[in-house]
Symmetry: C2
Subunit: 219 residues, 2 copies
C-alpha cells in the first residue's frame, strides 16, 4: 500500500505542471492491453515500440532478449520510454507464462497466417500483442501458443511492415477502440498511486534523502 | 492512349504470377488520397513513407526537397517504392499549387494545432496529406494554406511521433475508411492500363528492344 501522506509530501517537490501532467497521463494509462517484443535486434525498433506504448497509453511492455544487454538500459533512461514499465526475459516461454498467468490472451501479429484483420479484433478481453524479429517474425513458440492471430490489411507489393510501424498501427487502432467502448480499461486507484510514487522517484534526484528525512521526522 | 495490343504483347514476357500480382495490386490503388513529404532529411523516413503508400494502395507521392539529390533515386530503384509514382519539387509552393490544381484538399498533419482527430476525418473529398520535417514539422507555407489540420490522438509524455509512424497510422486509417465507403476511389480503366504499361517497362529489362521489334514487325 502506498503511504498517501508521503506521496503528497514528495509531490510537493514537483512543479504544478509536472503533477498535472502525471495525473492527466495516468488517467489514460491501461493494463488491459500490453505489448511483448521478441528478440528484436535493432534497438531503435524496440525503442520506437516503447514510445508508441507511451503515446497510446499502454503501461507495460515485455521484452524478450536472448541476452540482456546494457544498451537498452541506457536508451530507456533517456527517452519518454522511462514512463512505461519494462519487464525483461531471457526466453519466450517465461514471457508467455507470465502473461497467461496475468490473464492475458496471447495475440500473435503476423502477416503470414490466415489471421483476422486488425479491424475485426474484439477488444473485450485482456490482450498481449506479440511483435517479432525484423525479418523472421515471431518464433514457433509464440505461434504455437497464441490464442489469436492478427494482421494489418496490406494491398501493395510490400509483404511486411517494419515492426515499429506495425506496433504503432496496431496500438493506435485497438486503444482507440477500447477508449470508445464501455470496458473498464483504466488503472485501479491503487495502481495510479503506485505509479505516482514511482514517477516521483524517477523525477526527484535526491529522492532517497527526502524519503529518509520524512521518515526520521515522522517516527 | 495505351496501345492495348502492344501491352498484351509485352505482358506476354511476364510470368503469370507477376501479371496476376499487377492486376491485384492495381485494383486496390487509389489517387483519391495522396501524400506530400516536406523536406524530410533522413532518407529512411521518406523511404518508409513510400513503403506505407505502397502497402495501403496510395499511388502518388509528392516529395519537396530544397535540393534534389541522387541518393533517393538509388534507394527508390531498389525497394517496393518503385511501384509508387514520385513527383519531386524544389519548393513547397509548387507542390501545393500542383495538388490544388488537381483538386486535392491540403491536409496538414500536425500535433500542435487545434486540429481535428484522425478518426473524425471525412474521407469524401480528394485529400493530400502533408508530413513535415522530423523536428520542426511542416513549414508556415503549408500551415497557412492548409484546408484542414489533422492529428493523431496521443495520451502520453511523448509529444510527437516519428514521421514514418504518423504517415503509416494516418494512411492505414483513412484508406481503410475509404475502402469501406461508397466513394469511387479506384483508378480509371485508362489509368490502370497506363500503370500496367509502366510496370511492364520497369520489369522487363530489354523493353526498348521488344517495343522496337514489335513496331517494326507491325508497320
Amino acid at each position: 500500500m502506498i503511504d498517501k501522506d508521503l506521496l503528497e509530501h514528495l509531490e510537493g517537490f514537483l512543479t504544478e505542471r509536472r503533477r498535472g501532467l502525471f495525473t492527466k497521463v495516468l488517467a489514460e494509462r491501461t493494463r488491459h492491453f500490453t505489448v511483448a517484443v521478441e528478440d528484436v535486434y535493432q534497438l531503435h525498433n524496440t525503442s520506437a515500440v516503447l514510445r508508441s506504448c507511451d503515446v497510446f497509453g499502454v503501461q507495460d511492455v515485455h521484452v524478450v532478449e536472448a541476452s540482456l544487454g546494457k544498451k537498452m538500459d541506457r536508451e530507456i533512461a533517456m527517452g519518454a520510454q522511462k514512463w512505461v514499465d519494462i519487464q525483461r526475459y531471457t526466453n519466450t516461454q517465461k514471457c508467455i507464462d507470465t502473461l497467461k498467468s496475468e490473464g492475458y490472451r496471447i495475440i500473435a501479429t503476423t502477416p503470414h497466417k490466415d489471421s483476422q484483420y486488425l479491424h475485426e479484433f474484439d477488444v473485450t478481453q485482456k490482450a498481449a500483442f506479440f511483435f517479432g524479429k525484423e525479418t523472421e517474425g515471431l518464433s514457433e513458440e509464440v505461434l504455437a501458443q497464441a490464442d489469436e492471430f492478427l494482421k494489418i490489411p496490406m494491398v501493395g507489393f510490400t509483404e511486411s511492415l517494419n515492426i515499429s510501424v506495425s506496433a504503432a498501427i496496431t496500438l493506435q487502432h485497438v486503444t482507440n477502440k477500447l477508449r470508445n467502448s464501455d470496458i473498464s480499461w483504466q488503472l485501479t486507484e491503487e495502481e495510479i498511486l503506485e505509479k505516482r510514487f514511482d514517477w516521483c522517484k524517477k523525477t526527484i534526484k535526491s529522492i532517497d534523502d527526502i524519503v529518509n528525512r520524512y521518515k526520521e521526522e515522522r517516527f
